[in-house]
Amino acid sequence: MSGGFHIVVCGSLVPDPLQTLEPITGPGGPALKNEMMLPSVLDPWAAHALYEAAHLAKKAAGSKVWLVSLGPKAKLQQLMMSLAQKVPFELVALDGPAGGFADSYEVAAVLAQAIEGIAGLDRSRLLLFGGCASASRDAGVTMQMIGERLGVADQFLAVDELTVQDDGSLRVMERIEGGRYLVSVCAGPPAVLAWATGHLPEPPNSPQVGMMNMRAIMPALQKAKPVKVGAEGIAFVNVELPQQRRETRIVKDAPVEEIAREIVAWIRG
């Protein structure tokens, strides 16, 4: 595509899933115990979106990637120390909660508003990327709502693969029920692509990319606008973790048949 894409990735942090997550009721509603102490990672769905965006931008000359992140400013800063080394992007930061209890409608509203405010963004070249189930407690609605607010009609959810074809059209593979794919083609941007997995591994850390990104990241964090996306007016009747039954063993290189046999035996009790 001539001039390249303007790719806006919506992605923020989630508590590192390996941490001990304990829901509590705080003064502002449901929260996680010691949330500010827990390390965070980029939401894995959004991570796919960001890496795919960077890969596409590298291939299509003239492209640019923005990362629009909504999260507590201090935690965003910490996340950026790792993330900024991965791929080139320009950060648009919004200071607000990202603990899993935000309301999708409100999140979509503030993200759409932030995207509308990006200087130099060409909406005709816009590819709006994000995680397919991000900021929605797995409901998969946030990216759709952002797209609607921005007037982007072509929306693809649970995307695993995007190919830019020779004529500039976009070939998109979406996963659907039954382990099958829906393959669609649209003429080109603007489009919303909510990523499920993607095909790219986590990029290596590059000191040069990090230094380049950081020059703009720190000012962006300092300018982060406070936003309200809490669950005001929404009552959570109960919040609890799934019951765990942990009998950990780590066994490497076990044959698939053996693993299957063991699982069947375990289910049979």
């Binding site: 390390p39 201090a74 990029p203 290596p204 000191p207 990090g210 230094m211 720190m218 950990t248």
Partner: protein, 625 residues
């Protein structure tokens, strides 16, 4: 002659290079002190850059710090500290601003007796124990423990702080990053120093996209060379940069690094019934083995940090920190507080206990050393974080002086600006007093305690004579160690069975000697693997070379003890083919215990053994330590 394993990590490939002014290695308390102090001098009163960059003309001074761990909060330690240096840097410090921090309110030192009868105690210690039990009615005796009537002054942390190093690092690092004056990059291991002649010209970052042997693989990206006028090394006691500098420049005459310990700890949620108040500090000694010291610090919100130190003077060829930690927690004195608690976090690290006697060359052409790897830990007061922080502050003050005077970072200038400051500091004064405090432990536990007392009470003016043996020189064979308790035939049987099962021997050996099985409760008493997953959240990304390398297979084949397997804090080292242990990077917590526990010295190089600990990625992912 056999080539050392995995030598392909020093591949000659074309590498990218980047110029900065100051390259820093390792973000811990020492680097926090350095960067905090330096960053305050980087802008003037109007917020304009005060010190210009030479590497990037027209820009402010370029200061970059590379940290191996995946986050700057993944440190391993709960600490009690007088916090003199930290408070000098933050005069208005409010502990409530640092998660888990709390002022010290109470301190107790406890001698733990052996409630089981399995601890390996000398005849003289058994006599002491018998006396204690006989006179317990007139002693502050409770639940198989005696509380010392007072805490010796040298151990006290009056007015001090309890800190989680993970949280303290996050707190200090966040302020640095927010200033925008320095850059800290986690998840970026440094492979080694760039040594040109006798000058350190920067550092080389680790290769990415390699196989386990370091050979180029998918997405290969050779580690970049970061060239700098000054390289600040604060990568701890087993950091590859510091160790390579020691190998190249040697240690000052009379110095050595033969005294070590592995510290293993947990952060736990205390049961609701626990009466211990925030700020309480318990120090223990005497159990599970006499040489093992323990600690329990009570944080706010019913959390506590607890753990043990297993020193290199515990001469067991099957020493293990994890199993001993569980027995220590279950000591009746402690278990009444802990029973019903839940593990939140877990981790381990090596401590360099030669301290000032292990001090390396603090400076050279283009480099300076700070922190624990620079010999700043005080082994008498049991304190290292505040000392490390202060060494960083002292170096920063010297660096600022040199930058303002436009003087280069030569050995001579760094000697005058940093080493001179350090020699007149409280770190040095107290470090000298502690220098020989633990030498008595080379001859036994009671002698060690007496020596520590003498050194502590005389401010280091008096100490016991003696020298430190190399760790491997202290380790007897399993057969000799268990003589009279387990027959050589049974040891051989256990060795065979555990090798076939791919596991360590210590559980079987300890249980055979009377240590009871651990009654796992799934909350605090959990399997070692669950401690890794639930507590340490240990993980490692692919695409990096193994950082633990068994150099010469013939030495491993000859090794009978395989202490590396026994001591490994993460069960990352297990029996392997043909007698060469295998290493699983995904379980490694980077404690470095394998390095000093290897019992096979290299031919012609008695200070080095057969395990090399290189730069590596991954490890703990818990920030609550």
């Amino acid at each position: 002659m056999e080539e050392p394993a995995n030598s392909s990590t020093s591949l000659h490939v074309e590498r990218q290079s980047m110029e900065v002014d100051i390259a820093c290695v390792g973000f811990g308390p020492a680097m926090g002190g350095f960067l905090h102090t330096l960053s305050r001098a980087l802008v003037d009163g109007t917020g304009q850059p005060a010190l210009p960059s030479t590497a990037m003309p027209g820009m402010p001074l370029q200061v970059v710090c590379y940290e191996r761990a995946d986050d700057i909060g993944f440190g391993v330690s709960g600490v009690v500290t007088r916090a003199r240096g930290i408070r000098t840097s933050f005069p208005a410090l409010d502990p409530a601003q640092i998660p888990m921090a709390h002022p010290v309110t109470k301190e107790r030192v406890l001698y733990l007796l052996d409630p089981i009868g399995a601890s390996r105690r000398s005849a003289s210690l058994r006599a002491v124990d018998a006396l204690v039990r006989a006179f317990k009615w007139m002693l502050p005796y409770e639940e198989c423990a005696v509380q010392l009537p007072y805490v010796p002054r040298f151990l006290r942390k009056d007015g001090g702080l309890l800190l989680s190093i993970g949280q303290f690092n996050q707190w200090a690092g966040a302020q640095l990053m927010a200033s925008g004056l320095v850059q800290i990059w986690p998840g970026m291991p440094v492979s080694g120093p760039l040594i040109e002649g006798d000058r350190v010209a920067g550092v080389r970052l680790v290769d990415q996209g390699t196989d386990r042997a370091g050979n180029p693989d998918v997405g290969y990206m050779p580690g970049m060379d970061i060239r700098a006028a000054l390289t600040v090394v604060g990568d701890g006691p087993v950091g590859p940069v510091g160790r390579q500098l020691d190998d190249h420049f040697g240690l000052p005459e009379g110095h050595h690094r033969r005294d070590w310990a592995v510290g293993m700890k947990m952060v736990v949620d205390l049961p609701e019934t626990c009466p211990l108040e925030p700020g309480t500090v318990l120090h223990t000694f005497g159990y599970p083995e006499p040489e093992i010291f323990g600690f329990l610090y009570v944080y706010p919100d019913r959390m506590a940090s607890l753990g043990i130190f297993v020193p290199s003077t515990l001469d067991s060829p099957a020493r293990t920190a994890y199993r001993y930690l569980q027995h220590w927690m279950m000591h009746p004195y402690l278990w009444r507080y802990l029973n019903g608690g839940t593990i939140r976090s877990w981790g381990a690290k090596t401590l360099q206990e030669s301290a000032r006697r292990g001090e390396p060359h603090l400076v050279g052409e283009g480099y300076a050393r700070i922190g624990e790897g620079s010999g700043s830990t005080n082994v008498l007061t049991g304190s290292g974080v505040d000392e490390a922080w202060t060494t960083g502050v002292l170096l920063a003050e010297g660096v600022i002086e040199l930058l303002k005077a436009n003087k280069p970072f030569t050995e001579e200038n760094l000697e005058a600006a940093y080493v001179k400051r350090r020699r007149t500091s409280w770190v040095e004064k107290e470090g000298r007093a502690a220098e020989r405090a633990r030498i008595g432990f080379q001859r036994g536990f009671l002698t060690g305690l007496i020596g520590m007392g003498i050194a502590g009470l005389t401010g280091g003016k008096l100490s016991l004579p003696g020298t430190s043996k190399r760790p491997y020189e202290r380790i007897p064979s399993l057969e000799a160690y268990y003589k009279g308790r387990i027959s050589p035939e049974e040891i051989e049987k256990i060795r065979k069975e555990t090798t076939e099962a791919g596991s360590s021997m210590h559980d079987a050996l300890m249980e055979r000697c009377g240590w009871p099985k651990i009654p796992y409760d799934g909350k605090l008493l959990v399997s070692h693997q669950d401690a890794l997953l639930v507590g340490g959240k240990v993980q490692a990304a692919s695409g990096y070379a193994d950082h633990v390398v068994f150099l010469y297979s013939h030495l491993c084949e000859r090794c009978e003890n395989k202490l590396c397997i026994e001591v490994c804090s993460g069960q990352a080292i297990t029996p392997g083919a043909h007698g060469v242990p295998q290493f699983d990077r995904e379980k490694c917590v980077h404690c470095g215990a394998c390095v000093w526990n290897c019992t096979m010295p290299l031919d012609g190089d008695p200070e080095h053994a057969n395990i090399e600990f290189r730069a590596g990625s991954g490890g703990l992912h818990s920030a609550e330590n």
